[in-house]
Structures are given as structure tokens and as C-alpha cells.
């Protein structure tokens, strides 16, 4: 399985984004299931919608959000995962947000090392494989 981070969705949606072409190629590869099934989390979904809502507008945020809901499996970060993510967030010396830490525990739960992201901070995390 492969986890898709917020920056991948945003770069895909915006033709002017510096990583737009990378995001298109990346998603086409992901859809071949070379890395297995793909998924995201409700925390990431929230970030994507928050950014589009703030930077482009609610109408587009709703359209894009609906498309994600129709096409991508969204894993819900429950109480247990949040507790695990909080432990990582509380102790890490890396510049990871709480959402980034939920990504790490979601990877562990899905028993996969693959994360699709353009966030270079993840390169410092041991035991995961960045696909970008």
C-alpha cells in the first residue's frame, strides 16, 4: 500500500504548481498499483480541503474533495492512532507536524513503507520509502 500526502493532491490539482507534472506522472504510476493499493487519511484530506478553501475558494474545495472521496480510500485516524502519533510528535527532533506523525503511524498500521510526498523532511525518517 502507499499513502498519499497532501502536497501530492495539491500539486495535481493546480496546473501552475512547480510539482504539477511530477504529481501527474506519480499518480499515473500509483494507479497501476505498482506499490499496491493507495490511500490517504482524514487528516490529510482535511489539509487538502483547508488549503484549497483558503487559497482558491470553497466551491473548488468541495468539488475536489468530492472527487477524492469518490476515488481514494480514506483511513480514519482513530483514538489509538492519534495516541501513537502524539508519542511520535512529542519525542521527535525532526520538523514534523502532528499530521506528519499520523502519516507515520498510518504507514505502520498499513504495514507499508511507501509514502508519496514532496516533503523532504520525510527523507530523514528511517524505515520509510519516499515516492516522488
Amino acid at each position: 500500500m502507499i499513502l498519499i500526502d497532501a502536497n501530492i493532491f495539491l500539486a495535481f490539482e493546480n496546473k501552475d504548481d512547480i510539482f504539477h507534472k511530477n504529481a501527474i506522472t506519480l499518480f499515473q504510476t500509483i494507479e497501476t498499483e505498482e506499490f499496491g493499493k493507495y490511500f490517504t487519511t482524514d487528516y490529510i484530506f482535511n489539509e487538502v480541503i483547508g488549503v484549497i478553501n483558503r487559497k482558491y475558494g470553497k466551491e473548488r474545495a468541495v468539488l475536489f474533495g468530492s472527487h477524492i472521496l469518490e476515488t481514494v480510500y480514506i483511513h480514519i485516524i482513530d483514538e489509538h492512532l492519534l495516541e501513537e502519533a502524539w508519542k511520535v510528535f512529542s519525542t521527535t527532533t525532526l520538523r514534523l507536524s502532528l499530521v506528519d506523525c499520523t502519516n507515520l503511524v498510518a504507514l505502520k498500521l498499513a504495514n507499508t513503507k511507501y509514502i508519496a510526498t514532496f516533503d523532504k523532511e520525510f527523507l530523514k525518517v528511517k524505515g520509510i520509502i519516499i515516492i516522488s
Binding site: D16, D17, R54, K55, Y56, H67
Partner: protein, 80 residues
């Protein structure tokens, strides 16, 4: 109708995940079997195959000054 259920043995279960699961089950008042039935149902529902492809989405131009938005998620949302 009464359903007897079956007994199973499961290998490769993470002991910590199982301990937490069992503690949650006890708190909820369910039996382990009933909770496992619920979990399996949820797992199946979550893995339902989506009929549409994500890449069918028609991207648009957001305009000048939006080139780095995918890199600025934390800054936009959390002011970092």
C-alpha cells in the same frame, strides 16, 4: 436465528495492537468475537473498490503566485 460462530487461530498478530484492541473491547462491553465481526465488516467496507480513477480529475490553473502552494501547506494552515 442463533449463530454458533467458529473458532479461529490467527498468526502474526502484533501483541501491542492486540492488547490495545482487547482493552478497548472490554471497555465497550462487547465480546472479542463481536468486536472482531465489527472490525472485519469495517475492513471490508473500507476496501470497497472505487469505480472512478483519481486521474480522471481535470486540473485547473490557479494563477500566478500559486506555484509553491503544495510546498507551503503548513505555512498556509498553521502559520509555520
Amino acid at each position: 436465528m442463533f449463530n454458533m460462530g467458529i473458532q479461529i487461530t490467527v498468526r502474526d498478530v502484533d501483541p501491542e495492537v492486540f492488547r490495545n484492541f482487547k482493552a478497548d473491547v472490554v471497555k465497550s462491553g462487547l465480546t472479542l468475537g463481536a468486536a472482531l465481526n465489527l472490525a472485519m465488516g469495517k475492513f471490508k467496507a473500507e476496501l470497497q473498490i472505487k469505480n472512478k480513477k483519481f486521474t480522471e480529475w481535470e486540473s485547473i490553473s490557479w494563477g500566478k503566485g500559486t506555484e509553491n502552494i503544495s510546498q507551503d501547506v503548513d505555512k498556509i494552515l498553521y502559520g509555520e
